[in-house]
Amino acid sequence: MTKYEKGALAAVAAMVVAAGFIFLYAPTDALQGPVQRIFYLHVSSAIAAYGCFAVVLIGGIAYLWKENVVADRLARAGALVGVVFTTVTLVMGMIWAKPIWGTYWTWDARLTSTLVLWIIYAGYLMIRRLADPGRQAARFAAVVGIFGFTDVLVVHFSVTWWRTQHPGPVVINDALPPQMLVAFFVTLACTLFLAAVMVAIRYRIEVLMDQAVEKSVPAPVVTPTEAGRVR
């Protein structure tokens, strides 16, 4: 078994362990009921997504600075995995919101920033696909990654600010009892591990894809000889 297969198996096992903690170990929330259990994975996904986009940011800066291909590949991997986790975060947030707030969506700071985050990194993936492959795609994506990360922070701040002018629904933020805290940290650790494994696997895929492109140089038309060189 390759190290990637081992890693994947370990990550799945970790998530099963986390599920055990979520459903068997953590108590049911008194106010919100069983639907509150979504919270563990929802918040863990969000943190994993932000972690991925931090990887995109750092990879992008490193690429612009040194034109380092490894940095670019890490950024590509981070962006894809980050979008996956952001999608999970958004969907789980909506499933949670309906029973709690009575609506699938509300324009609070966190939900709005997460949506904007999703849109920005969807844009990242698009510009990667549409720009000239190679240096141009890497450069443009790095710029989008830098602005995107900055923007999520700015948007979060601006929506929080706006919310002080236009108050909206309040998220119930009880202090978590110890058992819930434990379940949360276990889930968080397992989710981060899963994210890291996914990034590593995707990184390997990017390496293989880059190599495949390089090998596809067509066979020479004119056999190179010494005479083919100028002087």
């Binding site: 698009m126 720009a131 450069r139 989008v144 948007v155």
Partner: protein, 220 residues
Amino acid sequence: MRSLAVALAVARKDLTSEWRTRELVPALAQFVVLALVIANFGFQIDSRNAPAIAPGVLWMALVFAGLVAFGRAFAAEREQSSLEAMLMTPASPAAIFAGKALAAALLLVLCEAVLLPALALFFSVPLSFEVVSAVLLATVGMAVLGCLFAAMVARVRARELLLPLLTLPLWIPFIVFGGQAVQVAMGGGGSTGNASGLLIDLDILFVVLTSLVARFVLDD
């Protein structure tokens, strides 16, 4: 300072070209007036809801006009070969970018000079210094961001889709702060909460950031 001379020369060149061809500004001005007319029917504006809806209509019109104005700064095919010719000089790409963003911003301001009075007229809302300054401050930040991504997508397929996708998330904070300032100034109630100061902060942040990365976007 040579960079300043370059930026001003680039801006002057773009503005002169626009003045002589008069392609963009009349079309933009017509567009925003039409947008106001449609908003009136779409939102069924009357004297009671006008102050609440007018700010939103203002920013929507501005966003769409901005996408057109900034998209054009780098769009045309011939613009690409002339951009490359500019890069084949000792002039710094950041200065070239600044010049183009400046010209595009000024053209949008001309459009705003039509939009704001028309808005005041059609929706019977007051036009005050706060409104004008909020719009101008937001224009600066929107211009540098819009032009940066316009430069990026000019060389790429599906640019009409990509430009809004990349640019609008970055314009959201400007619309949040600017919208609040305009709403309060138009009598919508509430406080501006230092919106202008925050707009200035955003402007500085993004002018600096775009200047730093301009050369990666314009040049290979």
